[in-house]
Amino acid sequence: MAWTRHQMASRAARELADGFYVNLGIGIPTLVSNHIPPGLDVTLQSENGMLGLGPFPLETAVDPDIINAGKQTITELDRTSYVSSADSFGMIRGGHIDLAILGAMEVAENGDLANWMVPGRMVKGPGGAMDLVAGVRRIVVLMEHVARDGSAKFRRRCTLPLTGAGVVDVVITDLAVFERPERGARFRLLECAPDVTPAMVRERTEADYEEDVMA
């Protein structure tokens, strides 16, 4: 049985460690903030220039000057600081963010990531995604295992324009978790969703990966 979006987010939250500074992308990655284990000290960063993101505000406390990179209204915490976008990307590009969790259209077996444009469709722009994958120390991708048309999203090579080359460390889908020990290494299948077999994952994956661990 495939994981739900919340189960995927919960699994992704297990990539967090105490004291981590983390950037969460738009979409399913944002849900990860609801699954941070109690007692784990994690500081969320938003690339527009906020460090220490709090939860959504109460209706009465909405402040249009407090938004995250998804343009959602949020709140401050007792650790919050604001910086310019230049300084915010200094944190990102400079390797000060421990982990980013991002959505993806495609991931390749060499860690290439495509999540910003589809040729022929209107291009909205890369936003901060290229900076995040270039600068953050560890990149976790959260995505559906197969696209709506049934094609594999974890592929030999990306067919879409890249967001970054060789940047992905962990891939979490609704069916399985893949990880590699370092950039440049091969991915290996780490976990499957309940009642999902390695064979089922293999069938729905184009990428080459190791699965001896699961054997």
Binding site: V62, P64, G70, Q72, T73, S84, P126, M130, P161
Partner: protein
């Protein structure tokens, strides 16, 4: 004493606008955008603008007003996703767009203000946005060469400003405003509150007055919200 405060947006923009000029605008999404100055630029009818701005506003608000009024020829941005009029003009070939990674855009604007001609960043290496750009390895990693951005005019939104042009921003409305304020020879700031000399703590000023030539009071402070997300109070 030099007093940089002007009566309003029209007065501050007098003699400044000309067709074909480049304007850098602060803001991220609809947060921290110079609403008052954008409206005055719309009313001025100036055309063929190049805009340096992270976003392009939305339909009917922010820089979307200048797009709807056909005043924009070219945009240098990182994300323009929320604007249907943008899409229409772009697909019709009426509008040029140069996409930058968001951090690269922020850094190019800072470089323009800080006398840095260009820099190497890992961001974008191996992607289509690096095409045609110099790529050089540092510590075994490819880096893309990016150049400084400068503008004829910069428009920014701040929370508080004084007669010397010193500015303080409010929360995440700071975003691109500090770099934008530095990247042009003429910078006009609209502020929610004009305060007297000495009322801003010298340790808390985000943009020193040297970067700001004109200050007006912001009379449009709608601060439209793009994603109004809330949580329920726990009884």
């Amino acid at each position: 004493m030099v007093d940089k405060v002007y009566a309003g947006a029209v007065e501050a923009l007098t003699g400044v606008l000309r067709d074909g000029m480049t304007i850098a605008a602060g803001g991220f999404g609809l947060c921290g955008i110079p609403e008052t100055l954008i409206a005055a630029i719309r009313d001025s009818g100036v055309r063929e603008l190049t805009l340096l701005s992270n976003n392009a506003g939305v339909d009917g608000f922010g820089l979307g007003l200048l797009l709807e009024n056909r005043q924009v020829r070219r945009m240098v941005s990182s994300y323009v996703g929320e604007n249907k009029e943008f899409e229409r003009q772009y697909l019709a070939g009426e509008l040029d767009i140069e996409f930058n990674p968001q951090g690269t855009l922020a850094e190019r604007l800072r470089a323009g203000g800080a006398g840095i001609a260009g820099f190497f960043t890992r961001t974008g290496a191996g992607t289509s946005l690096a095409q045609g750009k110099e790529v050089r390895d540092f510590a075994g990693q490819p880096h893309v060469f990016e150049t400084a951005l400068v503008a004829d005019l910069a428009i920014v939104k701040a929370w508080r400003g004084d007669p010397f042009g010193n500015l303080v921003y409010r929360k995440s409305a700071r975003n691109f405003n500090p770099m934008v304020a530095t990247c042009a020879r003429l910078t006009i700031a609209e502020v929610e509150q004009i305060v007297g000399p000495g009322e801003l703590d010298p340790d808390h000023i985000h943009t020193p007055g040297i970067f700001v030539q004109r200050v007006i009071r912001a009379v449009a402070n709608e601060k439209r919200i793009e994603q109004r997300t809330i949580r329920e109070a726990v009884a």
